[in-house]
């Protein structure tokens, strides 16, 4: 009998710079129905109090690399929402 696919996935969400100011935190845990994409996590964050002030399609990184909104998330992934970058 095959193992059942997990019903949920929990990821660590990191917020930076203006996004952290907007939400009043720089880190939170988010549990999503599986399978879940980066876009699903963003929607989850935007559903939090004040979250609607974040953009609907922000730049995101998954596990220290830039990610597409359509990328799937795995348990314990580190998902970062990145405001417009201004280094250099």
């Amino acid at each position: 009998m095959p193992a059942a696919a997990p019903a949920a996935v929990t990821v660590r969400v990191l917020l930076f710079a203006s996004y952290a100011e907007t939400l009043g935190t720089d880190s939170l845990s988010l549990t999503l129905a599986a399978p879940a994409t980066v876009a699903d996590a963003v929607a989850g964050v935007r559903a939090l109090p004040g979250g609607h002030r974040l953009p609907a399609k922000p730049l995101c990184a998954r596990n220290l690399a830039h990610a597409a909104l359509t990328d799937f998330l795995a348990e314990d992934d580190q998902l970062a929402m990145l405001p417009p970058m201004a280094g250099g």
């Binding site: 930076f16 710079a17 203006s18 220290l64 990145l82 417009p84 970058m85 201004a86 250099g88």
Partner: protein, 143 residues
């Protein structure tokens, strides 16, 4: 992993020296410094913050890409924390036997750093405003 980010002032000489060798006759360098103005407003100082773990990884990817694409040795340092006008925010150095490769690698790295490395800049203006700089859009006051 080398430390691409540093909270200390960046010294030009050692960065350049780190890419030089007797085989490489040309070194191209880019220095980014804090300007006293931004879109017509007087800047007093600024703060760089970073997603440090990812920024280090992304800098390492960019430097590796440049070294794979051109026959060049490449160094990169980016400062974070509080900076004053004229302070050096970033240095890229690329050395090669061929100056075309040195220029191309140097240019590639600074362009990619600006696009891809998760570093943010908060500017403090003479008029009292504090702004998260968004190179992709019009400036908007920070919350």
């Amino acid at each position: 992993m080398p430390g691409y980010l540093t909270a200390e002032p960046i010294d030009l000489g050692p960065v350049v020296a780190s890419v030089e060798s007797p085989e490489r006759g040309g070194t191209a360098v880019f220095l980014g410094q804090v300007r006293n103005h931004h879109e017509g407003r007087a800047v007093l100082r600024l703060e760089y913050s970073a997603y440090v773990e990812m920024a280090e990884a992304e800098c390492n990817r960019i430097v590796s890409e440049a070294a794979a694409r051109w026959p060049a040795a490449v160094a990169l340092r980016h400062r974070v924390g509080a900076l004053g006008i004229g302070d050096t925010a970033v240095i890229v150095a690329a050395a090669s036997a061929h100056r075309e490769a040195a220029f191309a690698a140097c240019r590639y790295v600074i362009e990619q750093v600006k696009r891809r490395v998760p570093i943010w800049k908060r500017e403090f203006y003479a008029d009292g405003a504090v702004v998260w700089v968004d190179p992709t859009a019009k400036l908007q006051p920070a919350g």
